[in-house]
């Protein structure tokens, strides 16, 4: 019952944000104009508080979808359900202007549980990339000295639904495989409200994708260490493009352009240290984007790295070790962009702070984290984004095999 109230509370917040969004600028970033858009990392709620660090962590009280081997850490009696939302405020600064936008949305829903002592599984829905921009320009009306406003907007992105399975090979070693169905669309629009026309270029993308993970865990006295490795091969996405022109009176499909999109080969390694309620980790990840082509001039791809580190520690005082104990998280992340504009990378730096708040009476936690960072640089033709993102993650745990006396 209470869970329901809480979920509806969250949903309400989201809806409210969404309603306001409809009336104001909603955008992930004008940089999402290129390629597959802005890439999302696969860290969930608690990881978001630690700069996205998650490769070596095992799923225990939370789910970790960065590494498909992580689910072997799940308790056999518990099923976990996680839902994530975010709200992001961005201010943009170029040499000539400063503007700002807000973006808020649902991000993921994941469920995980153990099937047998050696087999655990997880499935869910999370974004791989998002596109969201809305850019107003003025264009010439040729043959006159008039100008008219033209809006360029984009939305869509790649989503993934996935099913992960972790196998516990030995007491210390777990292997995992994750099967994803990647699907979505990339939509770019060019429209004029004065002259009522829209050119809409939609590319539907999909494909099946596998990636793999390893988790090795060992203890020295009370110190637990784990190593995580992840790997996913590159994959071409099936693309179907339609470009439509709509005027006040007619709609015409003008072409189906062939377009190539793929996701890159990706690998990463992580280290984690754990002692009592304290844990820390670092991640390193590399994605081989080089060779990807962009339609836009002046843009080229490159291989890019992601590095992050984070710690989680409990609140001190009387609640430590009890069900009312708060967890605090701090982390930092550096992410290279997969494209370079006019020889300038659009890199991402962020600091994150988070907390896990247990909900009384139920085995659930609200994870809130705040990410402060910047993306890109202020330079000729380029702009810097400074952002504050609030991530909200509700982790619901349910005891499957215990019949409660009072429900």
């Amino acid at each position: 019952m209470y869970k329901l109230f809480k979920i509806s509370g969250l949903v309400l917040t989201l809806l409210l944000l969404h309603m306001y969004n409809a009336n104001s600028q909603s955008s992930s970033s004008p940089y999402s104009l290129f390629g597959l858009g802005s890439l999302e990392t696969s860290s969930l709620g608690p990881g978001k508080g630690m700069g996205g660090t998650s490769i070596a962590f095992r799923s225990a009280t939370y789910l970790n979808i960065s590494n498909p081997a992580s689910f072997s850490g799940l308790d056999s009696l518990v099923s976990i359900f996680e839902i994530g939302l975010f709200g992001k405020y961005t201010s943009y600064a170029s040499f000539t202007k400063n503007q700002s936008s807000i973006d808020a949305n649902f991000r993921y829903v994941v469920m995980g549980f153990r099937i047998t002592p050696w087999l655990a599984t997880s499935f869910g829905f999370a974004p791989y990339s998002t596109i969201g921009y809305n850019i107003n320009t003025k264009s010439d009306v040729e043959g006159s000295n008039l100008k008219y406003s033209k809006v360029f907007s984009g939305d869509g992105g790649i989503n993934r639904t996935f099913l992960s399975t972790s196998f516990k090979i030995t007491k210390n070693l777990a292997l995992g495989v994750n099967a994803s169905w990647l699907f979505g669309n990339i939509t770019h629009r060019e429209l004029s409200e004065t002259y009522y026309y829209t050119l809409e270029d939609v590319t539907y993308l999909s494909n099946f994708h596998l990636n793999y993970g390893l988790n090795y865990r060992f203890a020295i006295n009370e110190n637990n260490f784990s190593v995580g490795l992840i790997f996913g091969d590159s994959k071409k996405l099936n693309a179907k493009n339609t470009t439509t022109i709509k005027t006040n009176t007619e709609t015409e499909v003008i072409r189906g352009r062939s377009s190539k999109y793929s996701i890159p080969r990706n690998f990463g390694a992580g280290l984690a240290y754990e002692r009592g309620f304290f844990q820390a980790g670092i991640d390193f990840e590399r994605s081989l984007w080089e060779g990807t082509e962009f339609k836009n001039s002046g843009i080229r791809s490159r291989n890019c790295d992601r590095i992050s580190a984070g710690v989680e520690f409990p609140s001190f005082g009387p609640n430590k070790g009890t069900g009312r104990m708060l967890l605090y998280r701090v982390g930092a992340e550096y992410r290279e962009s997969y494209f370079i504009i006019n020889n300038t990378p659009i890199d991402y730096y962020a600091l994150s702070f988070g907390t896990g708040i247990p909900l009384k009476g139920v085995l659930s936690t609200v994870n809130v984290s705040v990410e402060l960072g910047q993306n890109g640089v202020k330079k000729k033709d380029l702009f810097r984004e400074n952002f504050v993102t609030v991530h909200l993650d509700l982790s619901l745990r349910d005891l499957w095999f215990i019949k409660r006396r009072y429900l």
């Binding site: 944000l17 600028q25 104009l33 107003n136 026309y197």
Partner: protein
Amino acid sequence: MIKKGTNSLTKHFTFFKVLVCLAVLILASCTKINEFTIGDNFVESQTHLTVIDTFRVDVSTVLLDSLYTSGVSEAYAGRYRDNDFGQITCTSYFTFNYQYFSTLNESAIYDSAALVLSYSGYSLGDTVSLLNLNVHKLTEQIKPFSNNYLYNNTSFEYEADPLGSISFYPAPGSGDSTISIPINSFGEELFDLIKNRGEEVSSSNWFSSYLKGFAITYGNQGNAIIGFKADESHLLIKIYYHENTALPVERDKLPSISIGMGQSNYMFNSLKLDFSDSPLENIRETMNEIPSAESGNRAYLQGITGLLPKFRFPTLQDLLMEKRLKILKAELILEPVKNSYEKIPLPDRLYLYETDRLNRMNKILTDANGDPVYSTLVLDEIFNEETYYTIDITSFLIDELSDRYFDYNHGLLLGLNQNSLKSSFSRLILEDGHPRVKLKLYLLSY
């Protein structure tokens, strides 16, 4: 347990509230969606908008075969001549209502009778000179056509000698005032019939074959057409009489019998047009259509006479050769001839009617929503230089081009709204020399 849960719940709801408030505050400070421009140097336009006005428009003036003028609220009479439109002679026809005439006393004595007319306020032409109008009695029954209409070129027989005549200085501006055309001998005849309960005034049928109606015609003097209110309480025969002969009384105070105008669809205005010595002189010889080049690079519009400018688009077919091109907007730019609208004001709104090879006035042009398309008038009241109408014909062009073929015979007639067209002399002289009528196309290429 439950109580505890509720407390924690309240606490978290407070947290959500704070969150929502914060979100709202941030949102309020954000750049509006239609003002956001960052990233404008990254976008690459695939659409281009061009405006051109070089497509030819063939302009002519069409004289409609006929235009129905019955059932309107104004009766026009008079003659007007000017150098642009030639001479218009207007006669209005109408019938009378039968009523049961109450018995008059033996002592009632006829005094006088008149046809009373009330100014509608509308006039065309010269109102400072004397105008001579006659009233004739019809010798033929007014009979609408099977569609219940009577037209501007319909006419009925009437007695050659008028029942009455008046010469007056028209004062159409003076709202309430009336003029009376004396019809004394007819009045006396009618009075006697009523007094003696003659067969002719005993029933509606008898009455209407006795008094078939009147025609108000132009006499022999004046250069104006005057509008009168055409309804039973404003257009009437008034017969005055006295009961006692002792004192001379003012006419207004005498008892009277009123006979008002009959059914409105039996009332109509009939026109005689004489274009000699006008630019439209040859219009009847050329199938009722004259190209603007043969009428001084002008085209003519006048409501009730059925003179309408016509537009055709001989080169639009070329647009179909272009691929990846859409018409976003098409408008006609229509300039009235300078100084042609000083005495008679320009119509506020112009409408378009589809037409064909036979110059029939087909359906009114509508936009994509089915609403009639009308013009916007841009008035340059200071210099009189930049006065023009624009009228959107996008839906027409798109419709015509949709079957990949543009029929040159499909044109547009420029008119007024349906009511003004049949009941007003609103006029416009369109310039088609300097400048020509322009078709402005907003084309999208992609």
